[in-house]
Symmetry: C2
Subunit: 388 residues, 2 copies
């Protein structure tokens, strides 16, 4: 990727309005990427994703490696064609999943060996194989295998893990240089846990290796909210300004706004789709738990100003009925609404940054969102797979 | 409903091409009605139903009575508005469901008492209440509560049951006359089990009561296929030619063709949606069981000539992957395809009847469909709820 493939169009404080160019089209940032774990954003079609305003979709290397297998996807023309999404695709490295999902995993200098939860087979993921899988899938933005630590972890263990991640990153680069199609971007992943000096070192050494963009990894894994914001600001502030910054696995709507304020350009998270399947809808007034009795006869849409199909056609009462009756349509309509909400939020932030009005937008959004969301219990951690 | 609300446009043998006029629009027959058990055709939106070619949707009185309750639906503007379907709606009487789903049911002259599977509450459904529920839902075509027998049942029990169904039908008529909106059609239900003389008597006495249309009930409940065809021909042949004929709960694609050949105009069945969720796709060459290994790398769509979104965008390999990974999108795409297949089949029959080519169509369709479908194991009984 040439430097011109990422262009900062406007800045407002640390927040940036930019454009990422990929072989499958441009991505206007800041952007949120719906998570298509197993070759589908759960319950939704590519047409739905377009309607929701999606520009780029994330695929999970780990999951597609195990089922249906990257060779099968490649034989059928690549992940774009397989899943019917012709826009930009980003794949993660498989690192987060292999560490959070696999039993009996064993880490070595070579890579990670583990048992497949799909069929029990013995598997090994190496930095080389991770890139080869992502090349076979045909993603536009790919990542080197990294070790993703849980929270909390000692400083010594974090330091050793960071060193391994950096050695793996160099190995991934070699495979990328040799085999990736022109225009495919390899993003480096900045680890370092909650230790500021390690995060600084991680930025320095990752940038020294030289990548097309930079992901901030190992966040939203259970650390305090203050640490998330502080480390995001630290890392984003140290990264080269002419490259995209991607905060992996984040997050809640207020976290997105806070991270954009700190200079982050790209996000992914399972929250809009996973919480939809748990009956939670996101609105500007905070989350709505649709099964609550107060919505039983509520004729209003989830969000009157929302343009999604669910809000244009159905009442909260109907959505609640579908959810209580465990109807598949409930999960689909709430997923569509939530993604629309996340993507409209990103669009509103892009517009605010472009006109120098981001600070005011941030204050207004957070005030309205937080006041209301305090009324409902907080939901569980926002990082994870979009599986169950 | 005035007699002009059903107009026979063409005949070809016993097959009819007709038009049913309802307060929510016309229905071109022969027609298949997707089943919207709980106020939704599972996994699909009204827009999907339109895309599939649906003209009229069936709602289940029993299910909507229990959850969310007809009063709630009425308070929210009726079932059309509640579920976002502005076309014609037909509701069944609740009879089939109360007899097949409810534990501890007790039948009396007054009606059926049972326990709600939703919340365990004691409920009673009477001929009067059944009509009141359907009026509250706002359906365009409604039915009197009937006793739907299993198979086999003795002649004596069938005769007694038929007499009860006829007494209930008269009570339903009274409530309909007093309280239904103008244009709402009440169809009588012809029972009588597998006994030809009882079916004759059922037609005679039901027609004597006088209804806007006639449903053939108590079929596809386990009787031999020959009995289904034979009794359908018998009953359809005795019913008044100027009224619509609806064969309840039927059926498989070949059964639809055979029943149209015997003079039936309307059908409903859970097969296209329920079998979709079990991984079965209907095609002109017979059913496809998508999980079979032979589709693992199959780049072809389910049916090359099909116009549905699934066939226009996805390979059998992708649909198989979604199904094996238990992705919600699998159920949705297969449901959409199956309904499209059923509705295109009805459209093809309408065109064939209109041009006097139905006999040739029937032979051609059955030859192609049956040859292929013999390759896969037959699936289970096609009557039932669209629930699991």
């Amino acid at each position: 990727m040439t430097p011109s493939a990422f262009q900062v169009l406007a800045s407002d404080g640390a927040a940036r309005r930019a454009r990422l160019t990929t072989p499958h089209g441009d991505v206007e940032t800041p952007i949120f990427m719906p998570v298509g774990t197993q070759g589908t954003v759960k319950s939704l079609t590519p047409a739905d994703l377009r309607d929701a305003g999606a520009q780029i979709v994330l695929g999970n290397t780990y999951h597609l490696f195990l089922r249906p297998g990257h060779e099968l996807v490649a034989a059928l023309g690549g992940l774009h064609r397989f899943m019917g999404w012709d826009g930009p695709l980003l794949t993660d490295s498989g690192g987060f999943q292999v560490f959070s999902l696999s039993k009996l995993r064993k880490i070595s200098e070579e890579g990670v060996s583990f048992r497949s939860p799909v069929d029990g087979s013995a598997r090994m993921l190496t930095p080389e194989l991770s890139i080869e899988i992502q090349q076979a899938l045909g993603a536009d933005v790919i990542h080197p295998l990294d070790e993703c630590l849980a929270y909390p972890v000692t400083r010594a263990a974090t330091e050793a893990s960071l060193a391994l991640t950096l050695r793996w990153a160099a190995r991934a680069q070699a495979v990328h240089r040799d085999g990736s199609k022109p225009g495919v971007a390899l993003f480096g992943i900045v680890q370092g846990g909650v230790y500021e000096d390690l995060r600084r070192r991680a930025v320095e050494e990752t940038v020294a290796l030289g990548f097309d963009g930079y992901a901030i990894g190992g966040m939203a894994v259970g650390e305090p909210k203050a640490a998330l914001h502080q480390l995001t600001a630290l890392v984003a502030g140290l990264l080269p300004p002419d490259r995209p910054r991607y905060l992996m696995g984040v997050g809640k709507p207020d976290d997105l706004v806070e991270a954009v304020a700190r200079g982050v350009d790209m996000f992914d998270c399972v929250l809009p789709t996973r919480n939809a399947r748990n009956g939670q809808a996101f609105t500007a007034d905070g989350p709505v738990t649709i099964k609550q009795a107060r919505y039983t006869r509520d004729p209003a849409p989830l969000e009157p100003s929302c343009s999604c199909y669910a809000c244009r056609h159905f009442s909260r009462a109907y959505l609640r009925h579908l959810f209580m009756a465990e109807e598949l349509l409930a999960y689909r309509l709430l997923s569509l609404h939530n993604l629309t909400f996340f993507l409209e939020l990103m669009g509103a932030m892009r517009a605010a940054i472009a006109t120098g009005a981001f600070a005011a937008f941030r204050t207004r959004f957070l005030e309205r969102y937080r006041v209301s969301s305090d009324l409902v219990p907080p939901w569980s951690s926002d990082r994870g797979q979009d599986l169950s």
